[in-house]
């Protein structure tokens, strides 16, 4: 899969000098944890390093998302906890229209200035003034922000929006004393960031590598344990896989085909991987504005026809599990509605049953009238469809190839087409497709998944489907349920609303959930430890995650395995 | 002596070539103000050194080039304005050409019979079964017998002399009145040159053809041509009966040319001739006589303008101020 190129800035010589004092060998401190070492991280493809650490850049340097600029609070995807970070907590008002965050005291910017709520206020106002910087789209529901004191800040909402807390908690404050001096914060290339993060000092930046050194003024005493994090450039999976096998990478987030044999087998004691199936669900979308996809029976047949195990094991290399029919997956187990699941089982959804699928189609009138081996529409018109998938996304391409093979097996003439990403997306957004594989939204609650898939307001005036409402299956019931969820902060009420949504989902099959997106994650314990492991998966372990800053939890936790292993690199 | 009407006549024929790009265009004055006549049953030789413009003259008459100025009068009518395929085709059925190099004037990918059939087809001289007969006749005429041995062959399977005979046969196919022969023997082996010249002489006599014989070889002009014209740097400088001209050259250039030809018959070890200078480049020819720079008799007016034609006798003229009474 093709990802973005990262970018970078100049080394601050002075800082290198200051910091190098602390380098040169792992020194155990009072807590007995060895210090020092440089952790090599790799998770996305780039070939040259560019100097840009702006937290607002549209395609950010992943490092600036967490290690340099920290969020107010860290959302742990694995257990759903929201962990205090630069903010120690927040309080909702009873009417759910104001939200008050308490800002941590004793935090310093890495230039020695004090961090307080003024910086948060400045940052919020900056994103209001420059919508291009509003990365979390918080001003969509925010009305205003006001300072209660230097360490307390209040957010006033324009309407009730019960998910606002998590969104605002993701805000990464920037230093007012630096950013207020800028001419244009939008085009600011933040090459020498002033930030609070554990690795916010850019101490090496070269054409093919950059290193972020530990922030000596970091507010968590004694942390981070390692001296620096290194990002080398690898232009593709093949090259990073080679580097992983070679032991060059300590912490990876790469797709590796047959990771067990290619990677882990090379050093079974130290090469580890764990692919947590907690990512956003990958779905098969069907264009319900067209026949036969407007027919729930047809959609149900598709759901029954797919060999989910083959998709997961061959297409996805066994790195994930088949989705349950509600599309929620293991991450949201607590939200699951048994009723809905039972109903789905009754309907035979998400079970590979070609004969049942064929029977469903027979029943609904999709028969091979002309004897060409393929079924026709109930009205006798020929039926053929393209299943589209992005060219180059090979795991998906294979999955779709299996699916089209499954459909052909039940007499549905389905062909795979592989447009380029741009055209693929455009087809989905404008509804110019038959069937397509696609991602969905992940979020803090399952609400995001259903909202982005079913909310009729996401279909714009130009017939452009925003978010992932690409199936274009809408109903008043769904809209009402979605609105009801954010109008309350009561967990029971929210649970009930979601149960109803799940039932509506399995009844109508607006799309077919395939599998939760796996999160590639490898770690190498030749030198470092402290990573989340399969047994102790304390947070999402991949150094890269679209949705969360949980890698921050890992970064402040990893350390050298002993006093000698990370001595000199 | 000359009572017959000329069949083909050049009148003030001039050809300038433009060469070079837009930046540095040069004009090559390949032929300047040439006037002469070709008569049925007569061979007129055009003699000159390489680059003197003699081939250009032949190609102008063959309508391979468009003249810059002047007239090409065929049977009393100017044909320069005859453009378009049908008019040119008519002209070409009367005037044909033989090229210097029989190795390149026949297309290596076509058989001999193709080469001979094409003109017959184009000019509708024969059809169907007649065609083969006609082709055989032509090969007979040029003494390539038995014809059936030659028709399926390709040019590379023939010797130079045989090829040149094929080329002559091709020219004859359209039953022309005029043949322009551009150095037809210079690429051939010495021993077979006479065969070709004699063949052409026979055709002249039997078919009453008019020949323009372009050559650099004065001796062969004397042998084959009734009349000879001498060219120098784009100008015809002298013209007359071949025997008369070679035995009694008038123009200083003709004299030079003749003295340079090795001729054991004149006695071995001939007197050395003082020859200075080289032929001027055709793009540098000025207004005056092009030979002025090398002429032992040069006068000041020679450098100013090209001398006019001075008639020495009914058949003889020269362009040189030495003979200009005016």
């Amino acid at each position: 899969m093709i990802k973005m190129v990262a970018r970078m800035t100049l080394v601050s010589l002075a800082l290198v000098l200051v910091l190098s004092v602390g380098f040169g060998g792992a020194l155990a401190q009072d807590d007995g944890i060895p210090r020092g070492g440089i952790v090599t991280v790799s998770h996305e493809a780039f070939s040259v390093v560019l100097r840009n650490f702006s937290p607002f850049a549209p395609t950010q340097n992943p490092a600036s998302q967490a290690f340099i600029y920290e969020p107010l609070m860290v959302w742990n995807e694995v257990d759903g906890e929201i962990i205090p970070w630069l903010a120690t907590g927040f309080v909702w008002s009873d009417d759910l229209l104001t939200l008050t965050f308490n800002i941590r005291e004793g935090v310093m910017w890495n230039d020695g200035e004090t961090f307080d709520a003024n910086d948060v206020l400045y940052t919020m106002n900056l994103t209001r003034e420059f919508p291009a910087l509003d990365r979390g789209a918080v001003w969509a529901f925010l009305d205003s922000v006001e300072l209660l004191d230097d360490y307390t800040i209040q957010f006033n909402l324009g309407e009730v929006y019960s998910l606002a807390d998590v969104l605002i908690a993701q805000t990464r404050p920037v230093p007012e004393h630096i950013w207020s001096e800028l001419d244009d914060p939008v085009t600011f290339v933040d090459d020498d960031p002033v930030a609070t993060g554990p690795f916010s000092v850019v101490c090496r930046l070269e054409d093919q590598v950059f290193e972020l050194c530990a922030n000596p003024l970091y507010w968590q005493e004694g942390r981070p344990y390692v001296d620096a994090i290194r990002y080398p450039a690898y232009p593709g999976n093949e090259q990073s896989t080679l580097a992983l096998i070679n032991g060059d990478i300590d912490w990876g987030g790469h797709f590796i085909p047959d990771v067990e044999t290619t990677y882990a087998a090379a050093d079974p004691d130290n090469f580890n991987f764990y692919y947590w199936p907690g990512g956003a669900t990958v779905n098969l979308y069907m264009n319900t504005t067209k026949a036969p996809y407007d027919d729930v029976a047809f959609r149900r047949a598709v759901s029954q026809a797919i060999d989910y195990n083959a998709v997961v094991n061959i297409g996805m290399y066994g790195y994930t599990i088949p989705s349950d029919p509600t599309g929620l997956g293991p991450r949201f187990e607590g939200w699951a509605s048994q009723e809905a699941l039972e109903r789905a089982a009754e309907l035979g959804l998400n079970e590979y049953a070609p004969s049942a699928a064929a029977a469903t189609l027979d029943e609904a009138g999709y028969l091979d009238v002309n004897g060409d081996g393929f079924r026709e529409l109930p009205n006798g018109d020929p039926m053929s469809m393209n299943v589209q998938v992005v060219n180059g996304w090979t795991d998906w391409v294979t999955s779709v190839q299996i699916i089209s093979q499954n459909l052909q097996d039940i007499g549905v003439n389905a062909q795979v087409v592989t447009p380029e990403f741009g055209e693929w997306l455009n087809n989905l957004q404008t509804g110019d497709y038959d069937i397509s594989i696609g991602w969905s939204s992940s979020g803090y609650t399952p609400w995001n998944y259903y909202r982005d898939s079913l909310d009729s307001s996401l279909l714009g005036a130009d017939n452009i489907a925003n978010a992932t409402s690409w199936s274009r299956w809408f109903s008043d019931d769904a809209d009402a349920l979605l609105a009801a969820f954010t109008a309350t902060a009561d967990p029971d009420e929210q649970f009930q609303v979601l149960s109803d949504l799940q039932m509506l989902f399995v009844e109508n099959v607006p799309l077919v959930p395939l599998f939760p997106g796996p999160t590639w994650y490898q770690w190498n314990t030749q030198q470092f430890t402290g990573f989340p492991t399969a047994d102790n998966y304390y947070t999402q372990g991949s150094p890269w995650s679209r949705d969360s800053n949980s890698r921050l939890l890992v970064a402040v936790n990893i350390h050298c395995i002993d006093d000698t292993a990370c001595g000199q690199e | 002596m000359i009572a017959a009407k000329p069949i083909l006549e050049a009148q003030g024929l001039t050809k300038h070539f433009r060469t070079g790009g837009a930046v540095s265009q040069r004009v090559v004055k390949a032929l300047q103000d040439a006037s002469f006549q070709l008569y049925p049953g007569k061979v007129t030789a055009l003699v000159g050194e390489s680059g003197s413009g003699k081939s250009t003259t032949a190609r102008l008459l063959a309508r391979l080039y468009e003249p810059t100025a002047g007239q090409i009068i065929y049977a009393g009518r100017d044909t320069v304005e005859d453009k378009g395929r049908s008019k040119l085709l008519k002209y070409r059925s009367e005037v044909q050409m033989i090229f210097q190099d029989p190795f390149s004037s026949l297309n290596p990918v076509h058989s001999i019979s193709y080469h001979l059939k094409r003109p017959l087809q184009i000019h509708r001289k024969a059809q169907g079964r007649q065609m083969t007969e006609k082709v055989h006749d032509l090969l007979h005429t040029v003494a390539l017998t038995p014809p059936a041995d030659y028709t399926p062959k390709y040019p590379h399977q023939l010797s130079g002399g045989q090829r040149q005979r094929v080329a002559i046969a091709r020219a004859l196919a359209v039953e022309p009145k005029v043949i322009l022969a551009d150095e037809p023997i210079s690429m051939l082996d010495v021993s077979i040159r006479m065969g070709i010249l004699n063949l052409m002489a026979k055709l002249r006599d039997e078919q009453n053809l008019a020949f323009l014989y372009v050559t650099h070889d004065l001796a062969s002009a004397r042998y084959f041509a009734d009349e000879t014209m001498v060219m120098y740097a784009g100008h015809i400088v002298e013209s007359g009966g071949s025997e008369e001209l070679t035995q009694d050259p008038q123009h200083p250039y003709t004299q030079l040319l003749l003295s340079a030809v090795p001729d054991p018959a004149r006695g071995l070890r001939t007197q050395e001739t003082e020859i200075a200078g080289e032929v001027p480049s055709l793009s540098e020819v000025g207004e005056g006589c092009p030979f002025a720079a090398r002429c032992p008799h040069v006068m000041s007016r020679c450098r100013e303008a090209m001398p006019p034609v001075t008639r020495l006798s009914e058949t003889r003229w020269v362009r040189c101020y030495l003979f200009d009474e005016a």
Binding site: - | Q96, L106, P108, V109, H123
Partner: protein, 314 residues
């Protein structure tokens, strides 16, 4: 025009190729074929190429399948009696893929080569024969297309066409690769245009179109064929490269896409060499066979390049 624009090797008219060969009895073969078979290099090349052409033409018989990409077996099996070249990570039969890939790759190569030569012939000969401002403009176009870096342009243009696939590759390569052939043919046309046999044909009264088609073009056969072969080779290699970097249609079996999938599945790391080595070897063999044929054509048309026969002591 300056010497810079002359073609690299003077190519003699096709007639020079027709020297009778002692080694071969006079079978009813066309001359060019006899010449080629008489040249050892070209003959070897032709044999290899014929093999692949045979495989391509009879692919449906050699490896009958509706869809060569169909997942038919347990993934990643080493070559065995059942699966001669093993299976892919996706459980596809590599042999079936290679056989059908031969069809696609050869078809793309030869179609592209043919389209490229058609364009090159039209443009090259027109420019060379008509001359004048027409020639100036076409020559400028040729030289510019030659100078603009090809692969980047191909990538850009391939990206512009949203649905990649064999047809896209044919179109893109044809649009970009015609210039070299056109330039060579133009230079040759300029030479031939001034040859005596063209002048002779004009004097005889041949119309222009006949001169171009029947007098000039046949004399460039060897040049056309060798440029065509060069274009085919270039197309096959470039197709593989484009597919390898993901600008092909992964849904279609061709040598390049087999390699693309092999690389995606880390075939070399998982020791699944049978998905990586055979397609590369196929490309190289076809490439080499084309190169050999071109060596041969060079030697046939330019006798100086021939190795002189071994001289026995007198």
């Amino acid at each position: 025009m300056s010497t810079v624009e002359q073609p690299q090797t003077a190519v003699q008219p096709a007639g020079a190729t027709a020297a009778p060969q002692r080694a071969f009895p006079r079978l009813p073969l066309p001359n060019w074929l006899r010449s080629i078979l008489g040249n050892r290099k070209a003959a070897i090349g032709l044999v290899i190429l014929s093999f692949f052409v045979f495989v391509a033409v009879f692919a449906p018989l050699i490896a009958p399948t509706q869809n060569p990409n169909r997942m038919v077996a347990r993934p990643v099996q080493a070559p065995s009696a059942e699966y001669i070249l093993g299976t892919t990570r996706q459980g596809q039969d590599v042999f079936v893929q290679i056989v059908h890939g031969t069809q696609v790759s050869m078809a793309v190569g030869f179609t592209t080569g043919t389209v490229v030569m058609a364009i090159a012939i039209i443009i090259g000969i027109t420019a060379g024969y008509i001359g004048g401002i027409f020639d100036e403009l076409l020559s400028l176009a040729m030289n510019i297309v030659l100078i603009i870096p090809a692969l980047p342009l191909i990538i850009v243009v391939a990206g512009f066409i949203d649905r990649p696939g064999p047809l896209t590759i044919v179109v893109v390569l044809s649009l970009i690769s015609w210039a070299y052939g056109a330039r060579v043919l133009r230079a040759q046309t300029l030479t031939l245009r001034n040859s005596d046999f063209v002048a002779a044909a004009r004097v005889v009264g041949e119309p222009t179109w006949r001169i171009v088609l029947f007098e000039i073009l046949p004399n460039m056969t060897s040049l056309v064929v060798s440029s065509w072969i060069g274009a085919v080779l270039y197309a096959i290699l470039t197709q593989a490269s484009l597919e390898f970097i993901g600008l092909g249609d992964p849904n279609i079996s061709s040598w390049g896409t087999i390699l693309y999938w092999a690389q995606n599945n880390a075939a070399l790391l998982t020791n699944a060499w049978w998905t990586f080595i055979p397609p590369g070897v196929c490309i190289a063999l076809v490439g080499f066979s084309l190169t050999l044929i071109n060596y041969g054509i060079d030697e046939i048309t330019n006798p100086r390049l021939r190795r002189e026969p071994k001289v026995k002591a007198a």
